[in-house]
């Protein structure tokens, strides 16, 4: 899929199981990634500090330095390279820990290869090396803070912009209403109960045709669905 694009994505695969690492590395190479394999936490951190990568696939249970520690130190360095974390299945705590430590996505082992590829593509599209956020055809430029649908600027009010940015930082995951309220309305402001709903309603209309869709999880919050990704990325991960 990525073959023939302008440059091969540099991917660091940190996985201590040799068989899995070899098979995965081979597949990723076939799919057009420039894969560097490594099996140790310290080594991974060293590699990431030496040269930039476009993507990291990180197993959490590693010899030497634990995956969570690698992630934390990487983020402490200010390195924003997109990281997809591989967790043991059912280890909910590990998953949450990983996301808190700065992972951009997670996948439970054993996983579907197509799903991994789809998620990696979604990650690179969403979080390019430029730090921009993407969902569907919408792009949020980190530098200017402006939103674009492909090349056309998307006209949004400041609050709509804050709302969309909050939703775009967690694509396909529900953002609780309270979190959105505090992201959009600075503290101390008197907020009407349905203020967020009104805002979402307006934003939803502006997003028609952008392949980014706001879903309502009534009683919980809102979720920005990326309709541009293939079905594999949306395949049930449980």
């Amino acid at each position: 899929m990525l073959r023939g694009t302008m440059h091969r994505m540099k991917l660091l695969l940190v996985e201590d199981d040799f068989d899995l690492s070899a098979a995965l590395g081979q597949t990723l190479l076939q799919r057009g990634y420039d894969v560097m394999r490594c099996a140790d936490g310290h080594e991974a951190l060293g590699l990431l500090r030496k040269r930039p990568y476009d993507l990291v696939v990180l197993d959490l249970s590693l010899p030497g330095l634990d995956g969570i520690d690698v992630l934390q130190r990487l983020r402490d360095d200010g390195n924003r390279t997109p990281v997809l974390v591989l967790t043991a299945r059912g280890a909910v705590g590990e998953r949450i820990q990983g996301l808190n430590a700065g992972a951009d996505d997670y996948l439970a082992k054993p996983f579907d290869l197509d799903e991994l590829i789809a998620r990696l593509q979604a990650l690179t599209r969403r979080l390019g090396r430029d730090g921009d956020l993407r969902c569907g055809l919408v792009r949020h430029e980190a530098l200017s803070g402006a939103f674009y649908v492909q090349a056309i600027p998307l006209e949004l009010s400041p609050r709509e912009g804050d709302l969309l940015k909050a939703l775009m930082s967690a694509v396909d995951r529900v953002v609780p209403k309270e979190a959105l309220t505090s992201a959009v309305f600075a503290g101390g402001e008197a907020v009407q109960a349905d203020a967020i709903e009104v805002l979402v309603h307006r934003l939803r209309r502006k997003l028609v045709g952008t392949k980014a869709e706001i879903m309502t999880l009534r009683g919980v919050g809102y979720l920005l669905r990326d309709d541009a990704v293939g079905p594999a990325a949306h395949r049930a991960s449980r």
Binding site: R89, L217, R218
Partner: protein, 460 residues
């Protein structure tokens, strides 16, 4: 008191403690009785001896008075006075200055002549005769001499000191031998009692080690019954647990073997060229997925059992748990474009947050799995009339009547799932004192979906 008991009277062995405590007490008592008796008999012997000596002294004084002088013929003095058989009494008559006049020369003259009582009464002291300790009685007399000149003389009568010590024979007369026999008999009796108590303790221990023995025996002492029944309850619990594990393991291995057999068949038929690899490989992938799903569910069931063993139920906010489950499963909701709603009322119920989370996630994942694309799924929390309910509803195809009885059985697979899901749900619910049931929702004669109801409290 307790600390004191623990530190000073710690019984390392009950047998040893009882023997030392009871027999030791008896020995001390017996020795005391002996000592008191010996002291009493000794006193008696001493006063008897003193009386004898005083009597002998008196007799001698009379004899001297009759013979008219201390220079008595030796035989008269050597004559053992008849004072009671074998008792030997020796005499000495001396001048006041200690000069020997008559009797036994070996007996030292009285050193306390000046302090002897007047009027011829006898004084007593301890002396010795050729190395033997003697009880001596001495008296001072005014004796007429043969030549008519009267002079003061000192008369001594002595008997061995050892006669004052009571002998075994003498003590036996006092009834001590009976006491000794009684003490020995009592010691035997006490030892026997201890042996019997220990026998019962041992018997209780044997009852425990006998696996066939399941009820508290009537032949076990009252004091040991609580210990016995407690240990037996623990053993039974353990046995039950082991049985359950064994059954589960057998089921699980069987279930895991099936996909392996399928996989092997698929692989072999592909290798033999019976089917095209392109056809069979996706099937094999599906088989592997099935086995993996099964292994995962087995794992979570095991984890849950561990949780159920150690968790303590607290009244928690069910809303928070439900919201967390929704947050976690939101990618699935997004993937199927499901219209979701959480209708929450304030709901608190006795539960463990981790376990309840697992339960809600299981039910929600089931609901999402069975819901059609763009369908609706929701969670309703409601309470009232002493009953709290969490309902996960979907618009799925409903449960067939044929499935229903086996719905909650482990490994009762329905529609592609490995089947442990609902079994886990029921186990969690029961661990929290709740029930979980699945109902078809019927509208105008047709099934429109499924309600999974978790309920605490009485059924309406």
């Amino acid at each position: 008191m307790r600390r004191w008991l623990d530190s000073f009277l710690f019984a390392r062995s009950l047998r040893g403690f009882l023997l030392v405590w009871l027999l030791g007490g008896m020995v001390v008592a017996t020795i005391s009785i002996f000592a008191i008796e010996a002291w009493r008999v000794g006193n008696q012997l001493a006063s008897e001896q003193d009386e004898r000596l005083a009597g002998a002294l008196g007799t001698l004084v009379q004899a001297i008075a009759q013979q008219g002088g201390p220079s008595l013929p030796a035989p008269a003095l050597a004559l053992p006075l008849d004072t009671g058989g074998s008792v030997r009494i020796v005499f000495r008559v001396s001048a006041v200055n200690g000069e020997w006049l008559a009797g036994e020369r070996g007996l030292a003259p009285c050193p306390w002549v000046q302090s002897l009582p007047d009027a011829g009464r006898a004084g007593f002291y301890v002396g010795h005769l050729r190395g033997q300790l003697m009880r001596v009685s001495a008296a001072r007399r005014h004796a007429p001499a043969a030549d008519g000149v009267s002079q003061d003389i000192v008369i001594q009568a002595a008997a061995p000191w050892s006669e004052r010590i009571p002998g075994a024979a003498r003590l036996r007369e006092g009834g001590l031998s009976q006491a000794l026999v009684l003490a020995c008999a009592l010691a035997g009796w006490v030892s026997l009692g201890i042996a019997i108590v220990l026998y019962w303790i041992d018997r209780t221990r044997q009852t425990l080690s006998d696996p066939m023995h399941q009820s508290v025996d009537a032949a076990v002492p009252l004091e040991l019954r609580p210990v016995l029944s407690r240990v037996q309850a623990l053993l039974q619990e353990k046995q039950h647990w082991v049985d359950q594990q064994r059954r589960f393991l057998a089921d699980a291995s069987h279930q895991l073997r099936t996909p392996m057999a399928v996989l092997r068949t698929q692989l072999q038929s592909a290798m033999a060229g019976d089917v095209r690899a392109a056809d069979v490989l996706p099937q094999m992938l599906h088989t592997v997925d099935r086995a993996t799903g099964l292994a995962n569910q087995l794992l979570s069931l095991t984890k849950l059992e561990l949780l159920a063993q150690r968790s303590e139920l607290q009244v928690i906010d069910v809303r928070a748990v439900a919201r967390d489950a929704v947050l976690e499963l939101s990618p699935l909701i997004a993937a199927k474009r499901i219209e979701f709603s959480l209708d929450e009322a304030e709901l608190a119920a006795p539960a463990d947050a981790t376990m309840l989370g697992e339960l809600v996630r299981n039910l929600l994942a089931n609901a999402i799995h069975h819901a059609p694309d763009d369908g609706r799924v929701g969670i309703v929390l409601r309470s009232g009339a002493g009953r709290a309910e969490l309902i996960v509803w979907d618009e799925g195809p409903g449960i067939a009547d044929t499935q229903r009885p086996r719905l909650f059985h482990p490994f009762a697979a329905s529609q592609g799932g490995a089947g442990l899901g609902l079994s886990i749900c029921r186990q969690i619910a029961e661990a929290m004192g709740a029930q979980v049931e699945l109902f078809n929702r019927v509208d105008r004669g047709g099934v429109v979906g499924v309600d999974a109801v978790v309920a605490w409290g009485q059924a309406p």
